[in-house]
């Protein structure tokens, strides 16, 4: 190859590399913009990206393609349907239902994995400070705790594994009602 040919080849290669670099920058910028745009609905609900909202339990079941287990015992002090149905697809998928009390304040929170008895994603549960914890006489691995939520409210919390799923039930009512509700969930602690 002549010196002129080599120089032309070098120029072509550098031109091609520059073109690819610009293309990468443009596509990278577009990807970043799209990811940001996709995160806006979650951010507007005050939640991290990945947590989705469903209009009801049926929609969550359809989107996760898994049955959501509900307590058969549901005290009159709680409002049906759930005020929020949130789910996440990470690690097999998990769903969380929030219920309001008769006074309109948050009163009950039920989260469960859609498949697998691994841990529930912390993003779905929210930030909680455990102030007291003990094993519950409800079967293997059941844990009863007293927790403080981000807004400073105190909750009773029950966690257990059953039927190949992990459950998390949190309530502001009486502990007896919470345990009764947990036991009434199909596959709940006995």
């Amino acid at each position: 190859m002549t010196a002129a040919g080599a120089a032309a080849m070098g120029s072509t290669v550098s031109e091609g590399a520059r073109a690819l670099w610009i293309l990468t920058l443009v596509l990278g910028g577009a990807t970043l913009a799209l990811v940001t745009l996709d995160s806006v609905p979650s951010w507007m609900h005050g939640e991290p990206r990945g947590i989705r909202r469903a209009s009801g339990v049926e929609e969550a079941e359809r989107r996760l393609q898994a049955k959501v287990l509900l307590p058969a015992y549901f005290p009159d002090t709680l409002r049906w349907p759930p005020s929020a149905v949130r789910f996440i697809r990470d690690e097999g998928g998990s769903v969380a239902l929030s219920f309001l009390g008769a006074d309109g304040a948050p009163a009950l929170f039920l989260a469960q994995t859609a498949g697998g008895d691994g841990t529930l994603p912390p993003a779905l549960l929210g930030r909680l400070a455990v102030i007291q914890q003990q094993s519950a006489p409800l079967g293997d691995g059941a844990v009863l705790a007293r927790v403080v939520a981000e807004d400073g409210t105190l909750w009773n919390q029950l966690e257990w594994s059953a039927g190949g799923r992990r459950f998390h039930l949190r309530g502001r009512g009486s502990l007896e009602d919470l345990i009764r509700m947990a036991r009434s969930i199909h596959g709940g602690p006995r």
Binding site: T24, L27, S42, R52, R62
Partner: protein, 330 residues
């Protein structure tokens, strides 16, 4: 297809066009693509997205329509915006409705005047006047410079300057008495060479195809805007071809400017007819037209634009990159 699937298709067609058009526009500017033929190539790539790629994605990859793909694998999913609702309807639904309304408005804005002009009575025309003879001679010279046979010339007795080409199977150049009076010899030859360049490239046929694409994608404002950009590029291509053939870039620019100035007062009045909103749109349309003419004249005042190197490689890389990105946009 179910209503939900049609909505997903429409949403993706609109969104993919917007992303593809913006990416292509950024690349055209950053890569410095100035030659109009190359610009057309890149813009056709963006136009191919809603017309070919999105239908193909729906047919070949039904997995993209699944909720698992949407929630776990996608870079962007329009349906996630349905988590936010207004008046009981998700924002994604509102966005599609708004875009469809905008697309339809842009389509009708061009379609209605076009249909009216086609249904209008044919204007009177004569073959032999001194101006007609002059136009005929200029057309023959322009055709010779482009190495093509001169098409029939339709000479109108219009008081307004009129100059355009027409016909898919039987091409012809239409010119009015006022246009011949307005332009000097070199300007007339340049302007006629411009129209012949359109015929040489079969632009009248292409414009039918693009109108078909617009009708098919009436709900897609991106397509409506892209086709307009392609029409502007086609004008630039014809300008360059005419300027190269006649060898007088300044005469073409001067003729272009004269024709624009002589017709600019008439355009708002014509476009005010078809729509209730046309009167308010007339001003921005007139400004956009003036901007286009200015850009074309500026381009003609400079040397002919050089093609960018490695155009095929850039085109393939842009297509592959866009394909990869938009596969994950549902």
């Amino acid at each position: 297809m179910t209503g939900q699937r049609w909505m997903d298709f429409a949403g993706q067609a609109i969104f993919h066009t917007l992303v593809a058009a913006l990416v292509i526009e950024a690349l055209v500017r950053l890569w410095g693509v100035r030659q109009p033929e190359q610009r057309i190539g890149f813009r056709l790539l963006a136009l191919a997205w809603p017309l070919l790629v999105v239908p193909a994605l729906f047919l070949v990859f039904p997995v993209r329509e699944g909720e698992a793909f949407r929630d776990a694998r996608s870079v962007f999913a329009g349906r996630h915006w349905d988590d936010l609702a207004f008046l009981g309807v998700g924002l994604y639904g509102w966005w599609i409705a708004g875009m469809a309304a905008m697309g339809l408005a842009l389509f009708l804005l061009d379609l209605v005047p076009w249909l009216r002009s086609r249904s209008a009575e044919p204007p009177p025309w004569i073959a032999r006047t001194p101006e007609g003879e002059r136009a005929g001679e200029a057309l023959s010279r322009a055709a010779a410079s482009l190495c093509m046979a001169a098409p029939p010339l339709i000479f109108l007795l219009e008081g307004w300057p009129v100059l355009y080409c027409t016909g898919t199977r039987q091409p012809a150049v239409v010119i009015s008495l006022a246009a011949v009076d307005l332009l000097d010899r070199a300007e007339l030859e340049g302007a006629l060479a411009h129209e012949l360049a359109h015929l040489e490239r079969r632009d009248p046929t292409l414009s039918w195809a693009l109108m078909g694409a617009r009708a098919l994608m009436w709900f897609n404002p991106g397509v409506q805007v892209l086709v307009r950009a392609l029409a502007r590029d086609a004008e630039r291509v014809a300008d360059e071809r005419a300027a190269t053939a006649t060898g007088d870039r300044l005469a073409l620019a001067s003729g272009l400017l004269k024709l624009f100035r002589a017709t600019e007062k008439r355009i708002p009045a014509r476009s005010a007819e078809p729509f209730p909103l046309s009167a308010s749109l007339a001003e921005p349309i007139a400004r956009a037209r003036a901007h286009d003419i200015e850009q074309r004249c500026r381009a003609l005042l400079g040397p002919a634009p050089e093609p960018i190197p490695l155009a095929g490689f850039r085109f393939a890389a842009a297509a592959a990159g866009l394909g990869l990105l938009l596969f994950f946009v549902v």
